[in-house]
């Protein structure tokens, strides 16, 4: 296969390319809260929380190969830990993030123990049951003193002044976010609280990305991938299956709790009816991850952006008049917004044409434009024709035209 440019891994050109990509990402992230409309910023915030959760799910599903449709429970754990600590114990919202991580980490490790015996779709079944039980657990009368039962933890006006749970929604309400008297977000108040939530979500997304990148590119990450590809072989090679799965589930659950905490802060209230805490949340994370690309670092990012764009655009399509004329015959008959249907069809179609998602498609076809030749692993390998070896490995299947 021909490519327009061939550059070496680690060369100046490669670094320039990387910097360009990073610059584009930074530019988009800065442009949205400073120049975008409030609606766009809110959508971007949703996309950021969604991609954090999907990245966390990706660690366990994409990299470790353990099917989980129970991540809404971890997400909800984070949301409720923050909500409870802030509203009942008047903690600073900042401090709830590490606590949410630790508690969800422990929950994740607990889930991992059955997971080390239960495999494949059976694990999916167990986690599905977990996702369905979780909202009921929140409604459970025995826990009502903590979770507030069915109504959840409302954002009542009386609680506002004392708890600071409604952070930044009005002027002068952000004191809980001060760090030793310094308010790092003071300058952002120009546009109200909306960009403020955006930055929290962005910070969490960046942290989640960095942690997952760190895990995946380390020895631990390679053992996760070994478990995914062949559990028995991994065990034979000396990977401790129980410890590895416990680690993966713990980190994944802990990271998934962080966007949950962001949601609690953003909404200013929590109840078991919040969609991302139910099975629908789990399915959304799964869709985002699979459409973007399971087992790739950028898959969830792209998937989340796409998901939010489509659901936002089609959100009012239950009303036939709102549909752009050309698409009206296709979606006009639907009584509910077609977002779910579009993604369901996409999900099924992807399994036929591109099981590795959009990032997989990109990886398949991008070498036509720019090919990065990996550095040879050692001196012995350097003498071999590296290019030829790469060619045979990366040439996609249906490549005949």
């Amino acid at each position: 296969m021909k490519s327009l440019f061939t550059i070496k891994d680690g060369s100046a050109a490669h670094w320039a390319l990387r910097l360009l990509a990073a610059a584009i990402v930074v530019a988009i992230m800065l442009w949205i809260p400073t120049k975008g409309s409030n609606g766009l910023v809110t959508s971007a915030t949703e996309a950021l929380t969604l991609m954090s959760a999907a990245m966390a799910l990706n660690l366990i599903l994409g990299y470790t190969g353990q099917i989980s449709i129970g991540h809404s429970a971890f997400y909800g754990t984070g949301a409720y830990v923050t909500a409870i600590l802030v509203s009942k114990y008047e903690w600073s919202p900042w401090l709830t993030f590490p606590v949410a991580f630790v508690i969800a980490f422990v929950v994740g490790v607990l889930v991992s123990f059955p997971a080390s015996r239960i495999k494949g779709v059976y694990l999916a079944l167990v986690t599905l049951a977990l996702a369905l039980v979780f909202p009921n657990l929140l409604r459970w009368p025995k826990l009502e003193s903590l979770t507030g039962g069915g109504p959840g933890l409302p954002n009542s006006d009386s609680a506002l002044d004392t708890t600071g749970f409604d952070i930044g929604r009005r002027e002068g309400q952000m004191r809980n976010f001060e760090i030793f008297g310094w308010d790092p977000f003071g300058d952002l108040r120009g546009q109200g609280a909306i960009p403020f939530y955006y930055w929290i979500a962005a910070g969490i997304a960046i942290i989640v990305y960095i942690v997952i990148r760190g895990v995946v590119k380390s020895r631990a990450g390679r053992s996760l991938i070994a478990v995914r590809d062949n559990e028995t072989a991994a065990a034979v090679m000396g990977v401790n299956l129980v410890a590895t799965k416990a680690f993966a589930f713990g980190i994944s659950a802990g990271l998934c709790a962080l966007p949950g905490s962001v949601t609690a802060i953003r909404l200013g209230s929590m109840s078991p009816d919040v969609a991302t805490l139910t099975i629908l949340g789990s399915l959304t994370f799964l869709i985002v991850m699979v459409i973007g690309g399971a087992g790739s670092l950028w898959g969830p990012v792209i998937g989340a952006a796409l998901y939010v764009i489509v659901t936002d655009r089609t959100g009012n399509w239950a009303d036939e008049e709102a549909i752009p004329g050309l698409l009206r015959p296709f979606f006009g008959w639907s009584k509910i917004p077609p977002g779910t249907g579009i993604f369901a069809v996409t999900l099924i179609a992807l399994m036929f044409v591109a099981p590795r998602g959009l990032v997989g498609v990109w990886k398949q076809y991008s070498p036509r434009i720019v090919r990065v030749v990996p550095r040879p692993a050692g001196l012995a390998a350097a003498t071999k024709p590296v290019l030829a070896a790469v060619d045979t490995n990366t040439t996609p299947e249906g490549e005949s035209e």
Partner: protein, 307 residues
């Protein structure tokens, strides 16, 4: 005593629904070895179809027939068009396809019938209640030892038993049932002796979806309404039943389904700690414990794992 009997009967009647969903899961699992996550939503869709037929004034028996046909077609098409081509790729792809199907059917039901609870006279439903297979007026019950046993409960339980019996006859007394058992036990050998494996699998999925349809219609009848979230929890109870009974044992699925219905009803009623909110935890714990301790279930055959 009356209360105990009441709970027993109620448990058996909801257990029958779980048994029907579990039966569908088991038939598919025996055929293709897949766990069909869309089983509940297939049932949901055809339950809506039956509602629509009732809306058009068809008698319930006729409506159910059409619902069964629609269910069968959905199941068969899903197997031939989606699951079969993808199953060559990876188990993960099949899992994603069943999840996609789950979402698609749920959305389709919502797109056609809207996301409110039906029948709802406020949105133009002709019917006052969901078309019921059995007499379901407030006075349709018999008193036994002080417990009010509704005709509906008796009917649901009886219907499940009849279906189980018919399936038993199908599996054990017909040539097609023999073919199904052959495919379940060894697909390759079945092919070699001239069994049309593809047809068997297609019919298995169709049959499973049709049985699910009965479960969905019966459950909507018990609930007196149908809504988009109707089958979420029923699916979990059904899978708990299939797990407990053993994924390859139809008889086990029925027994386990009834057991779970009764256990759940008793646990929620007598153990105040659990209460109505945590009923679902019973199913969760059953799935978890069975998979941990005895993955083959009570009546299933243990799977030998080769390395």
């Amino acid at each position: 005593m009356a209360l105990f009997l009441q709970r027993l009967v109620d448990g058996l009647s909801s257990g029958s629904v779980y048994a029907l969903i579990a039966l569908g899961l088991v038939i598919i699992y025996r055929g293709t070895g897949h766990l069909n996550f869309a089983q509940g939503e297939m049932a949901l869709f055809s339950a809506y179809v039956v509602y629509q037929m009732g809306e058009w004034g068809l008698p319930i028996g006729f409506a159910l027939m059409i619902g069964l046909a629609v269910g069968f077609v959905i199941g068969a098409v899903a197997e031939v068009g989606l699951v079969r081509p993808v199953s060559k790729k990876s188990p993960f792809a099949v899992f994603i396809v069943t999840i996609g199907l789950f979402q698609l059917l749920n959305w389709l039901a919502g797109a056609i019938w809207g996301d409110q609870v039906l029948p709802n006279s406020g949105v133009g439903s002709e019917q006052q209640q969901y078309p019921s297979l059995f007499p379901d007026a407030p006075e349709d019950f018999v008193k036994v030892f002080g417990a009010a046993i509704r005709y509906q409960s008796i009917g649901v339980f009886g219907l499940t038993m009849v279906i189980t019996g018919l399936l038993f006859l199908l599996f054990n007394k017909t040539k097609f049932g023999l073919a199904m058992r052959a495919v379940a036990s060894n697909t390759e050998s079945a092919k070699l002796v001239g069994i049309r494996v593809n047809t068997v699998l297609m019919v298995s999925w169709g049959l499973a979806a049709a049985i699910g349809t009965i479960g969905g219609v019966v459950f909507a009848g018990i609930n007196n309404s149908v809504s988009l979230g109707l089958m979420f929890t029923v699916f979990i109870y059904g899978s708990a039943a299939a797990t407990l009974g053993g994924f390859d044992s139809p008889g086990g699925a029925v027994i386990a389904g009834l057991m779970i219905g009764v256990i759940e009803g008793m646990a929620a009623g007598y153990i105040g700690f659990i209460g109505q909110e945590m009923k679902l935890a019973v199913a969760f714990i059953v799935i978890l414990v069975v998979l941990m301790v005895k993955p083959s279930g009570l009546f299933g055959t243990a799977k030998v794992e080769r390395v």
